[in-house]
């Protein structure tokens, strides 16, 4: 950020002509404004889904895991599918905020806040499944290495499921801290703009007393970097560890060394798709098209295309290795995946994950917002099926044919899954109305380098962006026009209020009217208003005229009822 210069061929990251103030206002708008009907509808639907999910969870815990569709052969199905799916979605957020920060990718600034929010909310969903899938949830604390009444009874550090516990909890806490750190200056911005005391109080608590001193900013930058450094390995580690749940097992189709990189690629793939889904809606609903631009979406589409292709490579490698291994159990596992009773799930997975992202090679398609949105949904469906295929088709026909069976979900399985989607959107919709959804402090830092207006100015030959501001300002307020209009309006105003004659009348102290200070009094005097009598004659029309004459304090006269006040003062006097 040492220079405001950025290559002209790079497309701007902030479109339109925005000032720092505009950014502030536009980011704060959804928080300060009132929710529209659309928001309430979406929120209600999400809340209902969430409640259905809660009902299903309570039913499960109250009755037993038997209310799910699992059986002796298929011990995991939708539960762990959903878990891996949600964890995967969470990956994009950290990748965007941490990895792209380290690589100094400025386009991350428009989307990182929401991407991180998505991460946290989806990790919350993901974390739910390992807990509720336990047969005895009430003993869930057994998986934590805490001292217990059994003496030296410890957790089993060999178990990948235990590694999951550490991986997920670390990931959630680091993501949360990172997110919050980034939020501090933005919360402070909301605090400073807050009018109602309650909001002010909340935002001042949330912003941890941010003052905006240089020292604050310096520490902020340092912590961000350190946290980015901490979070980056997590991007790779979490899904690697999740993949160990399968890779370290002995079940054909699970026992695959390719899983760690393949899972990470898949996670980034599905995460970016989810970011696309959310932000394409959000930029529209919250009027943030200027900050989440086509450029952002295109870049994300490229990431989707690349990771989708990596995933595709992994799928094909798996098939090759199964054949090459010469192990009949391995060969059959993959044959069964593709052609067995769950062939349709495999086909869905292949077409959604490998085939659909290939459309992004076309520039026209990857720049199409509608198309990106559709593909983002398709990818997430495909990635859900990828996990389903890995988990269920490997289990349902493993070693001994005598135990082969099928899985079909119950309404409780479906209810919990839909419930987590509901829960996710409840959180995200609440977030969209209470948090600064764009990291405005960071976006402001690239305004001059990557803002469209500044880029245009530089293209036009300007050397220093500073004058551009002046130019724009002068264009905005043309003093001449104001002067011409003013005299005419002054006359009309004084026509009704009556002209003050300094010889016959004494000037009143207008400062006695509440809302009029010494400065305003002087202004009123220049217009020709000196007495309470004049002010008391003011009506709706006069207030409007007055407003048009004033540079500032517009609307105050009417709001404070100057006419009424003046009438009283006149009578008292």
């Amino acid at each position: 950020m040492s220079s405001h210069y950025e290559a002209p061929i790079r497309r701007p990251l902030i479109v339109g002509d925005k000032s720092y103030h505009d950014i502030t206002v536009e980011v704060a708008a959804p928080v300060e404004g009132k929710a529209n009907k659309l928001w309430w509808t979406a929120f209600t639907i999400a809340l209902l889904a969430f409640l259905w999910g809660i009902g299903s969870i309570i039913y499960t815990i109250g009755t037993g895991i038997g209310v799910w569709g699992l059986n002796k052969t298929v011990g995991w199905a939708w539960d762990i599918t959903n878990f891996v799916w949600w964890v995967g979605i969470g990956h994009a957020g950290t990748l965007i905020s941490a990895v792209l920060l380290l690589f100094r990718q400025k386009w991350r600034m428009g989307i990182n806040r929401s991407a991180e929010a998505m991460t946290i909310f989806s990790v919350v969903q993901a974390g739910l499944f390992p807990v509720i899938h336990m047969g005895r949830v009430w003993n869930a604390h057994f998986v934590l290495p805490i001292p217990n009444q059994f003496g030296t009874l410890w957790t089993n550090f060999n178990s990948p499921l235990l590694w999951d516990v550490f991986a997920i909890s670390t990931y959630l806490s680091v993501s949360l801290v990172f997110w919050w750190t980034g939020l501090l200056p933005d919360f402070a911005m909301l605090r400073d703009r807050a009018v109602r005391p309650f909001q002010k109080k909340i935002y001042s608590l949330l912003s941890f007393g941010w003052t905006g001193r240089a020292k604050d900013w310096q520490r902020f930058e340092e912590v961000s970097l350190v946290l980015a450094g901490l979070a980056t390995p997590l991007v790779l580690s979490v899904h690697t560890i999740v993949s160990f749940d399968f890779a370290t097992s002995v079940i054909p189709g699970w026992h695959t060394t390719i899983f760690p990189p393949y899972f990470v690629a898949g996670a980034v793939f599905s995460g970016f798709a989810m970011v696309n889904t959310l932000l394409i809606i959000m930029r529209k609903v919250s009027n943030l098209e200027a900050y989440i631009t086509k450029q952002h979406i295109e870049l994300m589409n490229i990431v989707i295309m690349i990771t989708g292709s990596i995933v595709g490579c992994a799928y094909i490698t798996e098939l090759f290795i199964a054949w090459y291994s010469g192990v009949e159990y391995e060969q059959y596992a993959f044959l069964n995946r593709a052609t067995g009773p769950y062939w349709w799930a495999y086909l869905l997975m292949m077409s959604c994950n490998v085939f659909s992202p290939q459309f992004m090679w076309s520039k026209r398609l990857r720049q199409s917002i509608t198309f990106s949105f559709i593909i983002s949904i398709v990818v997430n469906i495909g990635m859900w099926f990828e996990r389903f295929v890995i988990i269920v088709t490997s289990l349902h026909r493993d070693y001994l044919p005598s135990s082969w069976t099928m899985f079909s979900p119950t309404f409780v399985d479906i209810g919990i899954y839909v419930g987590t989607i509901g829960f996710f959107f409840v959180l995200f919709l609440l977030y969209a109305r209470t948090f600064p959804v764009i990291a405005q402090a960071e976006v402001k830092s690239i305004l001059k380098s990557s803002g469209e207006a500044y880029k245009l100015f530089r293209d036009a030959g300007g050397k220093n962006p500073a004058p551009a501001k002046k130019i724009t300002k002068t264009v905005k307020t043309t003093p001449k026009v104001v002067v011409e209009d003013a005299s005419e309006q002054k006359n009309t105003l004084l026509g009704t209020l009556g002209v003050f004659d300094a010889a016959t009348q004494t000037a009143d102290d207008l400062k006695l009217i509440s809302g009029v200070g010494p400065k305003l009094e002087k202004t009123l005097n220049t217009i020709g208003i000196y007495s309470f009598n004049q002010v008391s004659k003011m009506t709706e029309k006069e207030y409007d005229l007055l407003d048009s004459l004033l540079d500032s304090f517009k609307g105050r006269a009417k709001r404070d009822d100057w006419a009424g006040q003046a009438k009283k003062l006149k009578n008292n006097g």
Binding site: T63, G64, I65, G66, G69, L70, N71, K72, T73, G75, W76, P130, H133, M134, G135, R136, V137, N139, A140, F142, V143, L153, W154, T155, N156, N158, S159, P160, L161, L162, V165, D245, T248, S249, V250, I251, W323, V327, E328, Y329, Q331, Y332, L335, N336, T339, L395, H396, R397, D398, Y399, L400, P401, S402, S403, W404, T405, M406, F407, S408
Partner: protein, 1019 residues
């Protein structure tokens, strides 16, 4: 209670006019209560630090504290013995030798009794006892809450005394009328009971004892009687057999009372390069046929033909030259019989006296050592003709009284309506029954009898072997033994116990100790070698008579299942849930049909979304009786034949869950298990089966069940047919079992348990499955849960069909599938079993891997390895992630999806106060949400170790047992300590046939399988 007593307070009260008394009456308190002192001083009150709010706080706190203190967990009182019975030591099991003889199953058994409760049945091995699944499960029938709990007259409760006096007066009435009294019983092998029935005759005159078997062997009895003079069944010692030819005889099932499997298994294990050859001609796929070396699908009517031809070829030396497949097979079998000579045996299950005569004649002609016509068996005595005569007489009004014991003719008679009509025409009808069944509800007097574990008794199962039955628990209900009832009616004052003891002392024991006999359970009397009496019977005429039996397009074969048998234990959830060894379907009976017939009729079987099996329904009509039945397509079913199990479809005295299937007895016309002239019609709708194994073939995975032929076994190095998988280590091919990622513990110290399973000796009978249920408190989950693939069996017996003629063919086919498409098509084809498949059984339980995949993945270390080789489950620690079950290559772990023991949704034995009594106190009843599995009966091995320790000795050779190895009298399952070299299992584990399941996974299991050897030698 109100009292008129007056209490005087003072002498003043004597004076009625005393003012003091008057004042005292008005004022409750003699002195004035100083309320002012408390409340008068307003100032003081206001300055007091105790405000009203404080006061309310104190009240609130004390109320809360008092009510909290009142909360206390419910107290369950257990009362210790004031005077401890000598034979009850809490925590120590007692074993009693007794005998089961319920008219269908006969067995010398040991009963395990804990704290006065019989909880498990074991075979009495000292008395050569063996147990099948039903005998093992019979202990649960004791705790059947729907038993008949006391005497009833016309459905109303009555006292024993009233019942007795009413019945005796009616008996006298009958006696005066000069009408006969019929005593209808199931097969009664009890000499003392027979004596009592005779006594009844002496008292009331004209008593006719009719023996009725629900599933009849009358033809065999008639044939044997005709040839040998006694109405009994010959014994077959299959251990001696070199060639066994069976025509429709399911001798590993319930044929002629069953119990031949132990001998059979011994002949099947290759020893000195030899094993028996078993050829089976049958229409249904039976357990016996599944074990055969060569099996031919023959329609019932053609079985007659096969038998005649076999007789002609073996006895008459006439070889029929017809070139039909059946004839070729018969000729080859005949050649083998001739070659084996006296070491061969022919058995038949055709319910026709002529057919039975032919079989006996063949055995006589070859002078078979296998058949024993001297020490005959008394396990079936039913006489079809006598039963038919009785029903006719009853309807004709020629019978005065009917006394039924241990039989449910109203349910099991094909002409049950006629019997019920007949019952209405007799003066007195009495049923002595343990169950509140159909017959008990159709008679005037239903007299509750105790379970055999509550009874005294005796039985002569086999000639010369006297067995005793003794009670192991006080009768649970107001019941009285049939024998005691007879004693009462005949005016005797002694109890049956006294009577039994006396008749044994005088007639059986020959001066030997009664106590010793009671302790042993059996008393063997020497049989003098006598020449079997043989009468002249025209066998040729029998053959030509048999040849007249006509066949039809569809013929029905009625059979009994391993689980329910004749149906008298239908209210036993263990048996209902026991999967049929062949179809692996539980909770049902159904029509079995060949694939070709099913296709022609449009009948289908298909799996629904969760894998459960559904099948079409057909309406079957035989002899004018129709019933809608589900169809299960059965590989190996002879074309044109159908199979249907008896024993299902009972309604009365059964919990609603147990009222499964359709009653097949209605088709059992003239007690013939072969019924021709069947017509079938496909009807709308589908039936839901509860099948525990949904995939039927082995998919060419020859390493799961290794097989070889007797020739290869004898002549080829074991590495050729017991192939150990190899892996590449440092570019050398080494045995996969020798490669290890981990350093192994030293397992040569202390005990190290192994379980050996011989696939040659295992017939798939399922006794071990029920034994495991009983020993380990395995819950019953019911039909709906089985459909969801959630059976809880810790031990299962997998059954595989081959796609080709045999499993070797499958392996070859799989190896030949080339290219992706070829491979795909081959694997898809392998999913279909052959029309007449080779069958293999494999008992699978937790393999107790030394390198267990389940142990590494459990996050909380709830499953871990024991020092003695067992893979252990700490249920308390388990949180139920099911990761272990997923990572188990053998899929033996069972998850408690629900709270099975205390859940009204699962109304089986565990949710029944009475049924709970069968629970083994040594084994935890698992709660919901935990994983459970075979523990290798750790409670039994620990008990053995402790017992030896207390007695100050080392553990004896072969002293260690598990429930399954104990129940297996076939010798298929042998358990023991491999570190103890004298233990049988130690040598078995090193046998050249020994292999581990899925060796290449590297789990190093402690369960050893033995390669199945098939005798493919054709003469």
């Amino acid at each position: 209670m109100a009292s008129n007593k007056k209490y005087w307070k003072s002498v003043e009260e004597l004076d009625t006019k005393s003012s003091i008394v008057d004042t005292l009456k008005q004022n409750e308190f003699v002195e004035e209560i100083p309320t002012d002192e408390f409340l008068g001083n307003k100032e003081n009150l206001e300055t007091s630090s105790t405000t009203r709010r404080d006061f309310l706080k104190y009240v609130g706190f004390t109320t809360a504290a008092a009510s909290l203190a009142a909360c206390e967990g419910p107290v369950v009182k257990s009362i210790p013995y004031v005077i401890k019975p000598d034979d009850i030591i809490p925590g120590v099991a007692e074993y009693y030798a007794t005998t089961m003889a319920n008219g269908f199953d006969f067995a010398n058994i040991l009963v395990k009794v804990r704290e006065g409760r019989p909880i498990k049945i074991e075979p009495n091995k000292d008395a050569n006892g063996s147990t099948n699944a039903r005998v093992q499960a019979s202990v649960l029938s004791l705790y059947d809450s729907l038993r008949l709990k006391g005497p009833k007259a016309n459905g109303l409760e009555i006292s024993w005394a009233d019942a007795d006096s009413q019945i005796i007066s009616k008996l006298n009435e009958v006696k005066e009328a000069g009408l006969p009294i019929a005593v209808l019983t199931g097969t009664c092998a009890s000499p003392s009971t027979k004596k009592l029935i005779n006594n009844l005759g002496e008292t009331f005159g004209n008593v006719n004892h009719v023996v009725y078997d629900a599933v009849s062997e009358s033809a065999a009895l008639d044939a044997f009687e005709a040839l040998y003079g006694t109405r009994a069944l010959p014994d077959y010692n299959l251990e001696k057999a070199a060639v066994i030819v069976s025509i429709g005889a399911d001798f590993l099932g319930d044929w002629q009372g069953g119990g031949f499997d132990a001998g059979y298994s011994k002949s099947r294990v290759p020893a000195n390069g030899k094993m028996s050859r078993h050829i089976q001609f049958e229409s249904n796929m039976t357990l016996t046929g599944a074990n055969a070396d060569k099996r031919f699908m023959v329609k019932p009517s053609e079985q007659n033909l096969a038998l005649i031809k076999l007789y002609q070829a073996v006895v008459k030396g006439i070889a029929s030259r017809e070139a039909t497949p059946l004839n070729d097979a018969v000729q080859k079998a005949a050649a083998q019989i001739k070659a084996a000579g006296s070491k061969a045996v022919v058995v038949t299950g055709i319910q026709d006296k002529n057919a039975q005569l032919l079989a006996l004649a063949i055995n006589q002609a070859i002078n078979s050592e296998v058949i024993d016509v001297v020490t005959t068996r008394n396990v079936r005595k039913g006489n079809d003709a006598a039963v038919a005569q009785l029903i006719a007489d009853m309807n004709a009004g020629k019978i005065g009284a009917v006394i039924i014991n241990n039989s449910n003719p109203v349910y099991s008679l094909p002409n049950s309506n006629e019997f019920v009509e007949g019952l209405k025409k007799v003066t007195l009808s009495v049923a002595c029954s343990m169950q509140d069944n159909e017959t008990a509800n159709a008679v005037q007097y239903a007299l509750a009898t105790p379970h055999y574990l509550e009874s005294w008794g005796d039985a002569v199962i086999k000639k010369g072997q006297y067995s005793l039955m003794q009670p192991t628990i006080k009768p649970l209900f107001n019941t009285r033994q049939f024998q005691d009832t007879l004693l009462t009616w005949t005016g005797s004052t002694s109890t049956y116990y006294d009577f039994l003891k006396e008749s044994w002392n005088t007639e059986v024991l020959e001066g030997k100790s009664w106590n010793q006999a009671l302790h042993d359970g059996v008393f063997t009397v020497d049989i003098q070698e006598e020449e079997a009496f043989i009468s002249e019977v025209n066998i040729d005429a029998a053959g030509s008579e048999l040849a007249k039996v006509k066949g039809s397009d569809f013929e029905l074969s009625l059979y009994t299942k391993t689980g329910l048998g004749d149906g008298q234990m239908a209210n036993n959830p263990w048996l209902q849930e026991l999967p049929d060894p062949i179809t692996r379907t539980s909770w049902d009976n159904y029509l079995t049909m060949s694939k070709a017939d099913a296709e022609a009729l449009g009948v289908i079987n298909h799996n629904v979304a969760n894998g459960a099996l559904n099948g079409s329904l057909v309406e079957m009509s035989v002899n004018g009786i129709s019933e809608v039945l589900p169809v299960l397509i059965q590989p190996g079913q002879a074309k044109g034949s159908l199979g249907l199990a008896l024993g299902y479809g009972r309604k009365q005295g059964l919990k609603s869950e147990m009222q499964t299937g359709k009653n097949a007895y209605q088709f059992y016309k003239e007690f013939n298990n072969h019924q021709p002239d069947v017509t079938l019609k496909l009807v709308e709708g589908e039936h839901e089966f509860a099948c525990v194994q949904l995939h039927n073939t082995l998919m060419g995975r020859g390493d799961i069940i290794k097989e070889t032929t007797i020739d290869d076994y004898n002549n080829v190095d074991s590495k050729e047919w017991n192939v150990v998988p190899v892996v590449s280590l440092d570019h050398n091919e080494v045995e996969a079992t020798s490669v290890d990622l981990w350093e192994a513990f030293d397992r040569s110290v202390g005990h190290h348990f192994n379980l050996s399973i011989d696939l040659n000796a295992c017939t798939g009978c399922g006794a071990c499955v029920v034994a495991c249920h009983a020993e380990n408190n395995v819950p019953v989950v019911g039909k709906e849960e089985i459909r969801k693939s959630r059976d809880m069996h810790w031990l299962r017996i997998d059954r595989y069909y081959s796609h080709e003629e045999d499993f070797a063919g499958d392996n070859e086919l799989k190896d030949n599938g080339t290219g992706v498409i070829g491979y795909k098509d081959t694997m898809a084809a392998l999913e279909d079993p052959s029309e007449n498949p080779s069958v293999a059984f494999q008992p699978v339980m937790c393999q107790h891997c030394n390198h267990a995949p389940c142990e590494t993945v459990c996050p909380v270390a709830a499953t871990s390895h024991g020092r003695q080789g067992q893979n252990q489950m700490a249920y308390n620690r388990c949180v139920g992630t099911r990761y272990c079950a997923n990572n188990c290559p053998y899929k033996v772990r069972r998850f408690n999806w629900f709270n099975y023991p205390n859940n009204s949704e699962f109304d089986y034995n565990m949710n029944d106060d009475l049924g709970k009594m069968v629970l083994n106190p040594d084994v935890t009843v698992r709660s919901r949400g935990v994983m459970e599995k075979c523990s290798m009966c750790i409670q039994m091995t620990q008990a053995t170790i402790l017992k030896a320790k207390k007695e100050g000795r080392p553990v004896n050779t072969n002293e260690f047992e598990t429930a399954c190895s104990n129940a297996c009298t076939n010798g298929a399952m042998v358990f023991g300590d491999v570190n103890k070299h004298e233990d049988t299992v130690a040598s078995l584990a090193k046998d050249k046939r020994a292999y581990h399941l899925l060796e290449h996974v590297g789990t190093k299991p402690n369960v050893v399988y033995h390669v199945k050897v098939r005798n493919t030698q054709e003469a």
